[in-house]
Amino acid sequence: MYTLGIDVGSSSSKAVILEDGKKIISHRVVQIGTGSTGPERVLKEVLAATDLTIDDMANIIATGYGRFNVKIAKGEISEITCHAKGALFECPGTTTLLDIGGQDVKAIKLNEQGLVMQFAMNDKCAAGTGRFLDVMSKVLEIPMSEMGEWYFKSKHPAKVSSTCTVFAESEVISLLSKNIPKEDIVAGVHQSIASKASALVRRVGVGPDLTMTGGGSRDPGVVDAISKELGIPVRVASHPQIIGALGAALLAYEKISKSQS
């Protein structure tokens, strides 16, 4: 039996096809999100990699900001529940989860059965989100994918204290004009994100370890800074961006097998 999970986020669309709730047989990420052709494209691509069609899907669940606009979906479940499910599948034993997405940061606390006990999300402000990192990488003229490398070069991280993106931008510009080495500014940016994201984790309760998902966890600088800030080891899910879609596919499987039994 095949089930499909689709996660339509603010800046990307993700899809996963699962066989019998156990095996990922296809997954895709398209770097445009809700309100665009992203959801359609990711569906086409994820199916194209297999010899299946949409009719072969026993159940389809949508999640993410654009979840209510996915017409083919047979149900919608929040990102919180989906991420918890997906992360537990990829990293069994996870107790605390931190997802850094394009416009949201979520911290989720799970109990021993993997059920969501408590969650916290950032307020409206973009501090600590992927968007913040994006703006800073533009100001620093360093591609997102290289930010992590620069982070590890730093010996004396600069202090970027502003959490407001606009303030932080001018703070970073003034650091640049003072000829502070770029790697130290990058490390400062990473620490600023880590401090904001860690505050959310503390709100739900710091566990013995932490699993990170979302686009932000692809930056090793962010992961290291958060691990240091919280003083606990951090695991990164092997497919950090598709965790939500994976969780949706898993839940799609659970629902259908429950209704059949």
Binding site: Y65, I77, S78, E79, I80, T81, L115, V116, F119, K124
Partner: protein, 373 residues
């Protein structure tokens, strides 16, 4: 349309078109309109002056533009909306405005009114439980009474004040009854409909509102009570708007079975005591009132009040509607949060912003909350 729908519809007409409602009222009765800024102004004095007290609780989805020149972004959206409505002339139909100053934002707002109507500012005492506070507030209310008499060219008699207190207490009692009844019929009273019945009080003669609510209660009570398959919650905070915010509750099967909102139940939680000195009676209401962060009380009874409220209403959880930049509300949070956790009461916090309500994030939070309850 069923009789119940028709009755609820009348409230919704009022709640959705406050401007039209009060202007029609003025035309029909020839009575004046007096604005009531949040929070807890003595409406009875206005009523006794023969005018209609009109609530100034912002607006649904206000477009804030002119107000930006007068308020920094860290004033709450309720005050941003009120400032915008002053500047765009919406409040020009008022004959006077009562303005209380229990928070720092209101203190400043009271000094920069941009509408045409004259403003009467008064201060509520915060050392509320001592006798000197009642004496002081009585003098402030006397100032309100004299100013209203001067501006409106009327005399406000003690007898008219006692009659106003009676009309208001009657409305308070019927509203408490309504909230209990609405909790039994969540299939009828969606969160928005419940809110609209309550909100209509702010734009109607309370005697008429009481009669409408009584009729509604009588009609509803003829219906059979059905069990609710979704979750039941208590709302707490300043207010729960815009309607799209409450619609999300319906979307995920939440019923509102009680509230602790400044715009709603906090208004009619207590009656004004009866006596022989109306201003003193009104001042005593403020002394007895509790559970709102704008009325100081070192015992901080709000957490326990909410725990009791949830228990009585058999609610699954409390949902905090946290008005952004409302520091009095923000101050209560760490205290009741710890009390909820100790009592094992589930809760979640939603950011409330009238101007840009972040509905998508709220949808995610509420859906996730419904999934974990």
């Amino acid at each position: 349309m069923s009789q119940i729908d028709e009755l609820i519809n009348k409230f919704q007409e009022v709640a959705n078109h406050p401007q039209k409602t009060v202007l029609d009222y003025k035309k029909k009765t020839g009575k004046g309109l007096v604005g009531i800024m949040p929070y807890y102004a003595p409406e009875e004095i206005v009523y006794a002056a023969g005018c209609l007290p009109v609530g100034l609780f912002g607006a649904q989805n206000p477009e804030i533009s002119a107000a930006r020149a007068y308020l920094p972004p860290f004033a709450c959206s309720l005050m941003q909306a009120d400032m915008e409505l002053q500047l765009n002339g919406t409040y020009d139909c008022l004959d006077a405005v009562l303005f209380s100053v229990p928070c720092d934002t209101l203190r400043c707002m009271s000094q920069k009114w941009h509408g045409k109507a004259p403003v009467i500012v008064f201060t509520q005492p915060q050392n509320r439980k001592i006798e000197a506070a009642v004496t002081f507030l009585k003098a402030e209310y006397d100032h309100v009474r004299k100013e209203l008499e001067r501006i409106l060219g009327v005399t406000i008699t003690d007898m008219a004040l006692q009659e106003a207190i009676r009309v208001y207490n009657e409305n308070r009692q019927v509203m408490r009854e309504f909230c209990d009844v609405a909790a039994l019929y969540p299939q009828i009273f969606t969160p928005v409909k419940r809110h609209d019945v309550i909100k209509a009080r702010w734009f109607m003669d309370k005697a008429e509102h009481t009669a409408w609510v009584r009729e509604l209660i009588a009609a509803v009570q003829k219906e059979a009570v059905h069990p609710w398959t979704g979750k039941k919650v208590v709302l707490s905070g300043i207010m729960a708007e815009p309607d799209e915010f409450l619609d999300i509750f319906s979307e995920f099967g939440f019923a509102v079975v009680a509230d602790d909102l400044a715009q709603e139940s906090r208004q009619y939680r207590n009656d004004v005591p009866y006596g022989i000195d109306p201003l003193e009676q009104l001042a005593t209401w403020w002394q007895d009132f509790d559970g709102c962060p704008l009325a100081m009380n070192v015992d901080k009874p709000r957490g326990q009040m909410l725990i009791n409220m949830a228990k009585k209403a058999k609610a699954d959880a409390v949902v905090i509607c946290m008005m952004r930049f409302c520091d009095p509300e923000e101050f209560d949070y760490p205290i009741y949060k710890a009390e909820f956790e100790k009592a094992g009461l589930r809760y979640t916090v939603l950011d409330l912003d009238l101007e840009s309500p972040s509905l998508e994030q709220i949808r995610t939070r509420l859906q996730a909350f419904s999934e974990i309850l």
